[in-house]
Amino acid sequence: MIPAEVRYVRASSLDEALDALGEPDAKALAGGQSLLPVLKLRIVRPSVLVDIGGLGLAGIETVGDEVRIGALTTWDRLASDAALARPALAALAECAAGVGDLQVRNRGTLGGSLAHADPASDVLAVVLALGARLELRSPEGERSLAASDFVLGPFTTALGERELITSVVVPVPEPGSGSAYVSVEHPASGFALAGAAALVRPGGSSSVALTGVGARASLVPEGGSLDDVEIYGDRFAPEGYRRHVAVVVVRRALERARARAEEDM
């Protein structure tokens, strides 16, 4: 389908982008892999697309005990970058390698996906389990939010109207950690019917986040049961199935993370 008429601006600086986003119904365009389909289906009708692809926001570097990932880093880069190759951080590359297909992975970005906040977003579970924070920038300045405070509900985030994600910062887990991402996918969309990201630390403690089953991805209380987690059903995957599969993917993610923890020395 053909999107409704929209203007297009390619920003050449962060300030220019933030300024352009001040127009009512302006929308930032990163890789377009989430935005363009909803544009074509006319589900969203922005007034102007502010293309932030030229702002140099892509890249991965380890700074001290953190890995800083630029918001416009693509899935393909995430799946293959050496900085993420440790078993402790494997969940991120594992998740990225499974997103969409080759074309989507070459264009889609981490920041774009997080800002879109699809309830079945795989990577949100991963950034939650890894305890990442998001660095945001607006005309008022910079601020930092824990991933768990960033996504508020389906397609709803704490991003202000003139605010962009600039980086996702992942604390480097201690040696002897392992992480994994396991999901059961919807056969058409590839989105998670239930997806679990797990980080296991050397003492045995773990962080687990679940996605695809409710309004947004969320951390599962350690050692807690999933009985208290709100789980939706739909025509394809009824609630009973999702609940059952959620338990399975959590277990499998933890198993795989533990196996990786043993390799991470």
Binding site: D101, P187, A188, S189, A237, V245
Partner: protein, 758 residues
């Protein structure tokens, strides 16, 4: 060197791969207007008003057309006679109005502004409830029966007998009865009986090119329609019927096709032709994928109640079937005839009692999809045959072989089977190492098998072969190249004439210029048009030899054609090239008739093709996910004119069978609205999901086909879903009776079977 049996790329492959092909939406037409459809949002309603005022006010919008604006000259409720809903909408997604504008974007903006008012009526969405006397009718405003000749394209099966005893509602448009002997008694005295109710959903053909057609009036009055269609002559007939035009005033040009699988017959053309006639401007309608999902003609959902029996030695005894076909809103025809004929499979039975019902509901107009009615029938039959085999402790192949038909066995329509390779295919498949491995696999893996066939079709056809001054041969037919048939024609003509296939070109003509060809569908083009091409090439060859005979002063009986040269048999230095003869002929003062031949064919017996499958699966019992590890297909193809193309058809059919088995379902909500309207919701088997598919070509020559070849496009899909279902049943330990076998369904079946045995 023979041109037959050589694997070579399709003639159109380079153009298609490099993007040079001009498809139906690509052609440049001066002054072209663009149409977009307003689709019904109600599954069943009376249309009380269509208001296009706001839409017309948008810049670039030329017209908002409703049914009354199209100069239709026929009545009837099929999509040719009623391309836009008249008074009553019968499915959500039905075209109700058409906006025509100077750009597609303007048309799309305008569609949102057309306001249609409806008086909702009860939506009939359950096909079995719809049959009961007193059920609400899916269509309340009827026009006299009129269906065109679209049904006959798809298969050569008869309609069975009439039997009026059963009380049914007016939603049941057709009842087929096929009775022979006393099936109930036969089942009673069987040593094993298996039964079940099998459900299959609406399935989308998912061709890669959404539907498109362009129409315009030539200054002298001819209506020209350039379209992505499977049949130009059939389309011309439909347009003549719709608009009351004489045939010579309509010219249908079939453009290169981006896939069709049965779905591209006369849906777009009545719309654009009507708009072009009404507006006297060229109009193109190119559906978006979203519109194609909603408004075209996918394959029918079906419910099959089946019961089969066998004796201890595996002899099949009786078969009882009630097959309910959800025609949706298709008033013209349904697959109840075909599916009720094919549910007996390629097997002998002692007695049968089969009923097929074509039931209308408030869903899509059903359409044909590769072997229409066959995969659904085979899913039911082959699942139960596996159960019989288990009960009788017989090998599944043994059971099929024991009953497989051979030439001369009487088929369900009372006619003897022609040459048919069921036994050969089964024996060949059984030898594949995968079958031998089935008992040594891990617990969660299994191999399943199934066998099916497609009767093929026949329709008279004609072709022309013409030699050009460069000594090359041009083959002219009106056949639409949907599956690579043109490449087959080149091989046939090359072989029959005596040239290398590299020197043969194949062109598709249109209804104004071409020799007759029926639609591409029904698995008959290679068989029928190919035969015409063979005869045309032979006729051209006779002209060639006559001319060469004069030039060389040698009798034609002593001449042969080898590698583009006519030579004396036994004295090859006395020769003349084809090119030289053509050069001397095709000029002012030339001495010979042009080297051209016309050929025709009219086979009266179809050429059925049997295909059997092995499927190796792994079932994840915790998630219900089915992983396909390997697939094998063996098919009787008559003669593989081009093994590469034949294997492509086999793999393509098997892959679409994978789609039926595990992925594809067009789902509606309780109000009859489509909820799986895009590829984000409707899963198809993409490359990543398809395993290695081994292809075993079996050749049992068709006596009446060109070099023994026959149509093979549909047979490969028929038993693929059943083979996968049988594999899943073996791997999971529980059988599923509904397709697609999605992870939630597999899991639910495992759970309820565990519950039962707990």
């Amino acid at each position: 060197m023979s041109a037959i049996g050589v694997a070579r790329p399709r003639l159109d492959a380079p153009d298609k791969v490099t993007g040079a092909t001009r498809f139906a939406a690509d052609g440049h037409v001066h002054g072209l207007l663009h149409a977009r459809l307003v689709l019904a949002t109600e599954a069943h309603a009376l249309v009380t008003g269509i208001d296009g005022k706001e839409a017309l006010a948008l810049p670039g919008v030329v017209a908002v057309l409703a049914a009354a604006d199209l100069p239709l000259e026929t009545s009837g409720n099929d999509r040719t006679a009623e391309p836009l809903a008249r008074d009553e909408v019968v499915f959500a997604g039905q075209p109700v109005a058409m906006v025509v504008a100077q750009s597609a974007a303007a048309a799309e903006d305008a569609v949102e502004l057309v306001s249609v008012s409806y008086e909702p009526l009860a939506a009939v969405v359950d096909v079995e409830e719809a049959m009961a006397p007193g059920a609400a009718l899916a269509r309340t405003v009827e026009d006299e029966e009129s269906g065109g000749d679209l049904e006959s394209i798809h298969a050569g099966v008869d309609k069975g007998s009439e039997d009026e005893e059963e009380p049914l509602s007016g939603n049941v448009l057709d009842t087929i009865t096929r009775k022979e002997g006393d099936a109930a008694a036969a089942l009673e005295s069987s040593d094993a009986v298996a039964e079940g109710t099998f459900r299959t959903p609406w399935v989308y053909q998912a061709y890669i090119e959404p539907q498109v057609a362009t129409a315009w009036l030539e200054p002298a009055g001819t209506l020209v329609v350039s379209t992505a269609t499977q049949g130009s002559f059939v389309t011309r007939n439909e347009l003549a019927r719709a608009y009351g035009l004489p045939l010579e005033r309509i010219r249908v040009v079939a453009e290169p096709l981006g896939g069709a699988f049965g779905g591209k017959f006369a849906l777009m053309e009545p719309l654009v032709a009507g708009a072009a006639l009404a507006l006297r401007r060229p109009v193109r309608l190119a559906l978006t994928r979203a519109e194609d999902f909603q408004a075209t003609n996918p394959a029918s959902a079906q419910v099959t109640h089946l019961r089969v029996g066998a004796l201890e030695d595996g002899t099949l005894t009786g078969i009882e079937a009630r097959m309910i076909v959800d025609r949706g809103s298709n008033a013209g025809w349904g697959v109840e005839g075909i599916t009720s004929a094919l549910v007996v499979g390629p097997y002998r039975w002692q007695a049968r009692d089969i009923r097929g019902y074509g039931v209308q509901t408030n869903r899509f107009t059903f359409g044909a999809y590769r072997a229409p009615g066959a995969p659904t029938a085979a899913f039911a039959l082959e699942s139960l045959l596996d159960e019989l085999a288990q009960k009788l402790d017989l090998d599944p192949f043994e059971l099929r072989l024991k009953n497989a038909v051979v030439q001369g066995d009487i088929g369900i329509s009372g006619n003897p089977f022609p040459t048919i390779g069921a036994v050969e295919v089964l024996e060949r498949l059984r030898e594949h190492p995968l079958w031998g491995m089935r008992d040594s696999l891990p617990d969660d893996e299994a191999v399943g098998m199934a066998c099916g066939y497609w009767p093929g079709g026949n329709e008279p056809a004609a072709a022309v072969c013409r030699v050009d001054p460069d000594g090359t041969l041009t083959v002219v037919t009106s056949a639409v190249d949907m599956s690579g048939v043109s490449t087959g024609f080149a091989a046939i003509a090359a072989e029959a004439f005596g040239l290398s296939a590299d020197n043969v070109r194949v062109v598709s003509a249109d209804t104004a210029t071409g020799p007759y060809s029926g639609a591409s569908g029904g698995s008959k083009v290679t068989y029928t048009v190919g035969k015409a091409v063979l005869r045309a090439a032979e006729a051209a060859r006779r002209k060639l030899l006559a001319a060469a005979s004069e030039e060389l002063e040698i009798s034609p009986d002593d001449l042969e054609v080898v590698d583009g040269e006519v030579r004396a048999v036994g004295a090859p230095d006395r020769s003349i090239t084809v090119e030289e003869i053509a050069r001397r002929t095709l000029r002012f003062g030339g001495r010979h008739e042009p080297i051209e031949g016309h050929g025709g064919s009219a086979q009266t017996v179809g050429a059925p093709s049997v295909a059997a499958h092995l499927s190796h699966v792994r079932v994840d019992r915790e998630t219900g996910e089915v992983e396909l590890l390997r697939h094998v297909i063996a098919q009787d193809v008559g003669r593989a004119l081009n093994p590469a193309l034949v294997e492509g058809q086999m793999r393509g059919g098997a892959t679409q069978g994978i789609g039926w088995a595990l992925y594809e379902e067009l789902a509606h909500d309780e109000d009859g609205r489509l909820v799986t309207g895009s590829f984000l919701d409707y899963a198809i088997p993409v490359a990543e999901k398809v395993p290695e598919i081994d292809t075993l070509i079996v050749e049992v020559p068709a006596p009446d086909g060109p070099y023994g070849a026959k149509g093979i496009g549909e047979a490969p899909v028929v038993a693929a879903p059943a083979a996968i279902a049988n594999a899943v049943a073996a791997a999971a330990g529980v059988r599923l009776y509904e397709l697609p076998m999605t992870p939630p369904r597999v899991w639910a079946a495992l759970r309820s079977s565990a519950g039962e045995s707990a």
